[in-house]
């Protein structure tokens, strides 16, 4: 926390020197034919022409004071009688009260899902199920601006990303899986797929709607019914999704949503009458779920943490690779399980990459998530901010060099500036543990073999990135990386047709594409 204060001081000094918005022709003439000495070869960002605030209007979107549980197609009060607050991480203001479901509520939700599965959803022809999914997808598109604004207010992510990345993908997942509903018998030649039954799905706070769609769309397409538990800090958009299900006249009980914290999740995982558990979240919780599910008939998919290697070779398009680093680690405040949080740079291009990266992060705009020009929004919760600070402190203590741009962070809310460490080795905690924030650890390598060895030197294996102009090198490296997704000359690109999932402690099972369907079907 101490470091953040000094940052603020530096930034306020800068503000004093800021000129008026009107551009004035320079009085003194500069001789541009004279070369600047090494010490002055720096780019300066800000001062001559600054962007005015451009906030997305949100007063016409209503957030309810209280959100109930969604069970059996209706919004019902929790049996627990308890509610908890959902905070806007950018302002620390309470947005709404969220129902806290206990084991009894979870039981009701599972019963309702079971009834809907046995009586309606499993008997319905795929063609008919598809119609519901198409209808849901279209309603999401129609309400996408409202959902994007709510997503940004509840979770702290920038409106730019919720509007241009999250919501289009949410709709795309429903559209894609709607198409599978009546074609499942062709997905796995020679085998007959049948639904599993009731799926218990637990999702994280980094992409609340998107991961809800990742889980719900394939489950519904395959003929399963669902009990979904959103993360406790980001439940609001899930409840608005429930309203869309009502509007689409989805049969009662096909999707049930129970809100709450870890205890609610535990009640769902341990419920004897579910057939499938799908979890996205931390490796620590994933291991607990694995233990709880062991010895039962429940099917399980886990999509857990990551510490992805982003590898830049000397022959890479360097400026574009720097963009890949940016989208790899600063996308969604670094709250991305597949974030490229370990950067490996070949020694020959280390200096230019670091120089460009330092200049590039100075252009990132941190602040109000609803401002259309914001690049980095609010950290999702105080707890997460503390975790980031703790890991960054450990990096500094262990002797790595921290680089952050000079900027002023808002007084209220949870914020962390885009940062990276140089002088990191594989023995540093910041090179091993998932930080889940806008903090990058930069390391170097000399040969392709070393790059592969270092990249695989982690208990995780969710994703990786490779940057080179040489196609043959891409194929050689990609095949040796132990990671579920490997991006070549790009990063953090998602598509419903493409399976996503991990190796090792990043989990098992795939989501998306034909592979994702297999997780929600039994074959005979």
């Amino acid at each position: 926390m101490k470091r953040r204060r000094t940052k603020r001081k530096v930034a306020s000094r800068k503000k004093l020197s800021r000129v008026r918005a009107v551009v004035v022709r320079e009085e003194k003439t500069i001789n541009y034919r004279v070369a600047l000495p090494l010490s002055q070869r720096r780019l300066s960002f800000g001062g001559r022409w600054d962007y005015a605030p451009a906030p997305e209007a949100h007063s016409h979107f209503k957030i309810k004071p209280r959100y109930e549980l969604f069970i059996g197609g209706k919004f019902v009060r929790p049996r627990s009688g308890k509610y908890f607050d959902s905070i806007n991480p950018a302002t620390e203001e309470t947005l709404a009260e969220i129902a806290d479901a206990n084991a009894r509520d979870v039981d009701l939700a599972v019963k309702s899902a079971r009834k809907a599965h046995n009586n309606v959803w499993s008997k319905m022809p795929g063609r008919e199920r598809g119609k519901y999914l198409y209808r849901i997808a279209r309603l999401i598109q129609e309400k996408s601006r409202e959902l994007a604004v709510l997503e940004s207010m509840d979770g702290g992510k920038t409106i730019k990303e919720s509007r241009d990345v999250d919501l289009p993908l949410v709709a795309a997942h429903f559209f894609y899986h709607a198409g599978w509903c009546d074609k499942l018998q062709y997905a796995f030649p020679g085998r007959t797929p049948r639904p599993l039954g009731v799926a218990g799905q637990i999702i994280p706070w980094n992409f609340p709607l998107l991961i809800a769609a990742w889980k719900l769309a394939p489950a519904l397409a395959c003929g399963n019914t669902c009990v979904l538990k959103p993360a406790e800090t980001t439940s609001i958009t899930a409840m608005h999704l429930a309203e869309i299900f009502q509007e689409a006249e989805l049969p009662k009980g096909v999707v049930n949503i129970v809100t709450g914290a870890g205890e609610t999740g535990r009640a769902l995982v341990e419920h004897p009458n579910i057939d499938k558990v799908a979890f996205t979240g931390s490796t620590e919780v994933g291991k607990r779920i694995l233990r709880a599910v062991a010895g039962t008939k429940k099917k399980l998919t886990l999509e857990l943490g990551g510490k992805a290697a982003n590898i830049i070779f000397e022959d890479a398009p360097i400026d574009q690779a720097v963009e890949g680093i940016i989208s790899g680690i600063y996308f969604n405040q670094g709250h991305v399980c597949c974030a490229g949080s370990r950067l490996f740079v070949q020694e020959g291009v280390f200096t230019p990459v670091i120089r460009k990266l330092r200049d590039r992060i100075a252009t990132l705009r941190v602040g109000n998530p609803l401002d259309k020009n914001t690049d980095i929004g609010a950290i999702n919760s105080r707890m997460q901010l503390e975790k980031i600070c703790e890991l960054v402190d450990s990096g500094v203590k262990q002797g790595a060099k921290l680089i952050q741009p000079r900027l002023r962070l808002p007084a209220k809310g949870y914020w962390y500036p885009p940062s990276f460490f140089t002088g990191v080795t594989a023995s540093h905690r910041i090179a091993q543990e998932e930080i889940f924030g806008p903090v990058l650890s930069v390391m170097t390598f000399r040969t392709p073999e070393e790059a592969i060895e270092r990249a695989n030197n982690t208990p995780y294996g969710l994703s990786a990135g490779v940057w080179t102009d040489k196609g043959s090198k891409i194929f050689k490296i990609v095949n040796k990386l132990r990671a579920g997704v490997v991006w070549a000359n790009t990063y953090n690109k998602f598509d419903p047709t493409s399976p996503f999932g991990g190796y090792k402690e990043s989990g098992f099972g795939r989501e998306g594409g034909v592979h994702g369907l297999a997780g929600y079907l039994q074959m005979s």
Binding site: A21, R25, Q40, S44, K160
Partner: protein
């Protein structure tokens, strides 16, 4: 360090075999994605007004037609000196850009207004003439008072891989410019690939260009955002390496105020605020100015005026 000295040192090293990769390669998908990202910035209210005025101050009002006459140049010069009624406090344009024969008229009309005269030269737009004659043309334009010379590179030689000859022609043109600034037109629409644009930018800067410029305006496509971004990134690398600040001029194809603001956003976020000056960035355009002025009037007065309220250049 003087520019001449720069070209001499580099010239002596130029035959040392440097792999093409040393000048950098460009990834098409990512550069286009990045260029599009700049158009997503939302520039409103005070930032919009300041940006539009900045854009006017960076404009090279251009007429490059066979039918150009001193009379037409008079229209252009007057517009450049005072684009809009003085109550809007709009700065004058940076320069007018004309053919060599019309330089002396432009010089006369502009007087000591501060608006520069730029002349295309070196057998514009193709550059396919003996070097001796091209240099003579440059000297003649400079002698007539051109402050800036916009030359074209020899694309035929470039595409044939004769990079040394491209370099030599630029260096020789620079020597013939005298005090005039040299803008080197790459004609990116004919170079076709981003890797070629990147390499041509490097050659031009090392050979002595004060500005690098995308297009003649005679070939389609002219300036695009990704092509301009490739050139801005080349300028950035050259600055890191040498400490010299090279200017950038996208020309052709920029017609709306919204496009102009997107280019300024790209400039600001790629090279920083130091480049936000007519000394280091220009728009080569003829129709852009009135759309920008229309937006300025709208921002100040709150309502749009019809096109007839804006004088034609």
């Amino acid at each position: 360090m003087k520019t001449i000295a720069r070209s001499e040192t580099v010239r002596s090293q130029r035959n040392a075999a440097r792999p093409r990769i040393a000048f950098g390669v460009v990834d098409q998908v990512m550069i286009e994605e990045r260029a599009t990202a700049f158009t997503k910035r939302s520039i409103k209210t005070s930032a919009k007004l300041a940006g539009l005025k900045l854009a006017v101050s960076m404009m090279d009002l251009t007429t490059l037609e066979g039918k150009d006459t001193p009379g037409k140049i008079a229209f252009l010069c007057r517009k450049a000196m005072q684009p809009l009624d003085s109550r809007y406090e709009v700065p004058s344009c940076a320069a007018v850009c004309v053919y060599p024969n019309l330089v002396r008229f432009a010089k006369k009309f502009l007087g000591n207004s501060g608006v520069k005269v730029a002349s295309v030269a070196t057998a514009f737009p193709t550059g396919l003439m003996p070097l001796r004659l091209k240099l003579q043309e440059v000297r003649s334009a400079a002698h007539d008072g051109a402050d800036e010379i916009d030359m074209v590179i020899n694309r035929g030689n470039f595409l044939a891989g004769e990079y040394n000859s491209v370099f030599d022609e630029i260096a020789a043109t620079k020597d013939s410019c005298g005090d005039a600034h040299l803008k080197v037109i790459l004609e990116t629409g004919e170079l076709q690939t981003y890797d070629n644009v990147r390499l041509a930018s490097e050659i031009a800067m090392r050979a002595g260009a004060d500005f690098i410029k995308t297009s003649t305006g005679k070939i389609s496509p002219a300036a695009t955002m990704p092509v301009t971004l490739v050139m801005l990134e080349a300028i950035r690398d050259f600055f890191y390496e040498t400490g010299l600040r090279i200017g950038m001029k996208p020309a052709g194809g920029i017609r709306t105020a919204k496009q102009a603001l997107a280019y300024l956003v790209m400039l600001k976020e790629t090279l920083g605020d130091d480049w936000l000056t007519p000394d280091l960035f220009r728009f080569g355009a003829s129709t852009l100015v009135n759309d920008v002025l229309m937006q300025i009037v709208k921002t100040v007065d709150g309502s749009y005026q019809g096109a007839d309220y804006f004088s034609l250049p």
